[in-house]
């Protein structure tokens, strides 16, 4: 029998599988920190991790990180440097993949982490971009990790912090963005990917035990679904073992 796992653990595993061997990954915070460790130890041993505070790593940190500036992320780093070093290489096109979170993501993969309501008199002031808008603008592709409900997966973001496909597939090129765009949205209910022609998100796999009608009901736009919908592959015992080694108190993965 398969081991039980939490939605966060499944999301970490799906995120880890997005990382291919030898890729340069802008790792970010929270779940992607653990996804990077899983990928490094299993299928992507030669992946390189970039952290926007100015850290380059070829190994996951020896203990769990609460932030990218924690001392274990510095010890045994490949390089400690300035932010402009890692951001500059990303602007040059040398970062394959970046991970992002958000308060809202829309059907074209645009992300809001700034304001709910009118920016001059916001109903909710969110923390802001951090490096997210840069990763969305400049990485070769990006992946969003977010809880699935219709307040978070919306028809159109109220404020576009981090650019996805704007209002369609050709928007990025028209705006002058050099490359990139959203590759996937990993949620608590499934994995969405993006149509090449439309630039719009569709449901690609559904998490085990989740009903399609519930996914549709909890998505803020009429969600397109792949013709042959398959379940998201479950975490293997080995993947779960690594996650629980990395996050033993389940600070990020409970």
């Amino acid at each position: 029998m398969k081991q039980a796992y939490t939605p966060a653990e499944l999301m970490v595993v799906v995120a880890a599988r997005e990382i291919k061997d030898r890729e340069v990954v802008f790792v970010g915070m929270r779940l992607p920190l653990i996804a990077f460790a899983v990928a490094k130890r299993l299928h992507a041993p030669n992946a390189i991790g970039f952290f926007e505070n100015g850290v380059v790593r070829d190994t996951p940190s020896a203990s769990l990180l609460y932030t990218m500036g924690d001392p274990p992320n510095i010890e045994d780093a490949l390089q400690c440097c300035r932010m402009t070093t890692v951001m500059g290489l990303m602007q040059k096109g040398e970062v394959d993949l970046g991970f992002l979170g958000g308060a809202e993501v829309d059907r074209n993969g645009n992300i809001n982490t700034s304001y709910v309501g009118d920016p001059s008199a916001p109903r909710v002031k969110l923390p802001g971009s951090g490096g997210a808008a840069d990763i969305a603008s400049l990485a070769r592709r990006f992946v969003v990790i977010i809880e699935h409900n219709d307040r978070r997966l919306v028809e159109r973001v109220g404020y576009l912090t981090s650019p996805g496909n704007g209002d369609g597939a050709h928007w990025r090129a028209n705006e002058g963005l050099p490359r990139g765009g959203p590759a996937a949205i990993i949620t608590t209910m499934g994995v969405l990917r993006f149509g090449f022609e439309s630039g719009e998100a569709y449901l690609d796999t559904i998490h085990p035990g989740v009903k399609l009608e519930d996914v549709k009901a909890k998505t803020g736009w009429p969600l397109m679904v792949t013709p042959v919908l398959k379940p998201t592959p479950e975490p293997t015992d080995e993947e779960l073992r690594i996650i629980r080694e990395v996050d033993p108190k389940r600070f990020w993965t409970s």
Binding site: M83, Q91, V124, D134
Partner: protein, 301 residues
């Protein structure tokens, strides 16, 4: 110089102050708390992210404007004081100039280079360009391609927390640097806060580890533990519990007022703050092992 004197002499009301330039590490909390203790007003805070330091200064009513990419509590979530100020004008309204981390870095880099602006390819199509009037897209005069123009930023003061410094202003910082170097070169005045004061010979033994050259450092403050709860590589780790506690203890303006009284108002210095934190907790955060860099030979002969 004491922290009290450094802040009193170099950071008057209305200053623009760059803080937290190494991002989650080396945040000059002691300097921020002294700004609150001296009741500074109308500050413009500059920094990519600040973890909870900007939130505290906003809650204490010290802030007129924020120029930042992110303000909140990195491991715990939103910053409640930031939300209150932006949403309801409590304790006062603040002006927010939205940035991304990269545009903050490029603004300070341009400031340090003496360049009017730096062109970039980030944020094109982002609404950040709509709410920050200082950032704009334009056609490059070289090839007509759209580029983002990121104007230079010159803070009145940058406060940099480092591992060690000497009496003349020489300083060593290690670990990730974020935009420390850019901020230190851009700012008009630089206050260096150090865990340890060492001889000039120690700093000169490794000139590659210097953040800002001594001649442009305005004041040196010896303040052990001055970055707590943020980490200082080789000295102490991050007190993540403290950030969680702050999160629950700043949910309302009244609760924050109590937090501020306890951790800032009722105490006059960082030494007293560390006593309040407790010897056991402070010892548990201390770095115990040694992992020394290999020496580099700088000899000319």
């Amino acid at each position: 110089m004491t922290m009290r004197d450094a802040i009193a002499q170099h950071v008057p009301d209305g200053s623009s102050v760059a803080l937290g330039l190494a991002l989650e590490a080396l945040i000059p909390f002691a300097a921020g708390h002294e700004l609150i203790r001296q009741n500074r007003r109308d500050l413009t805070l500059i920094g990519p992210i600040s973890d909870i330091l900007f939130d505290q200064l906003i809650g204490a009513g010290c802030v007129k404007a924020i120029v930042a990419a992110w303000v909140g509590n990195v491991s715990a979530g939103l910053g409640y004081n930031y939300r209150r100020a932006a949403e309801t004008g409590v304790p006062n309204k603040i002006h927010i100039e939205d940035h991304s981390n990269f545009t903050m870095a490029l603004s300070l880099l341009a400031g340090g280079l003496g360049a009017p602006f730096i062109p970039a390819r980030t944020l094109l199509g982002s609404d950040i360009l709509k709410t920050n009037a200082n950032l704009r897209a334009a056609a490059s005069p070289l090839d007509g391609e759209q580029v983002l123009l990121v104007p230079a930023l010159v803070p009145d003061v940058a406060v940099l927390h480092v591992q060690r410094a000497d009496e003349t202003g020489g300083n060593h910082c290690w670990g990730n640097l974020g935009v420390s170097e850019e901020g230190g070169l851009a700012a008009t005045k630089v206050i260096v806060v150090a865990e340890e004061i060492v001889g000039v010979d120690v700093i000169k033994s490794d000139p590659n580890r210097v953040l800002v050259p001594a001649h442009r450092v305005t004041a040196i403050v010896h303040e052990p533990g001055g970055a707590h709860p943020s980490p200082v590589q080789g000295y102490y780790g991050r007190d993540t519990d403290f950030y969680q506690e702050y999160h629950t203890q700043s949910q309302t303006a009244e609760a924050f007022e109590q937090w501020r009284q306890r951790w800032i108002g009722a105490i006059g210095s960082r030494a007293v703050y560390l006593k309040l934190l407790g010897a056991e907790r402070w010892r548990a955060l201390a770095v115990k092992d040694k992992k020394l860099a290999a020496p580099a030979n700088f000899s000319a002969t």
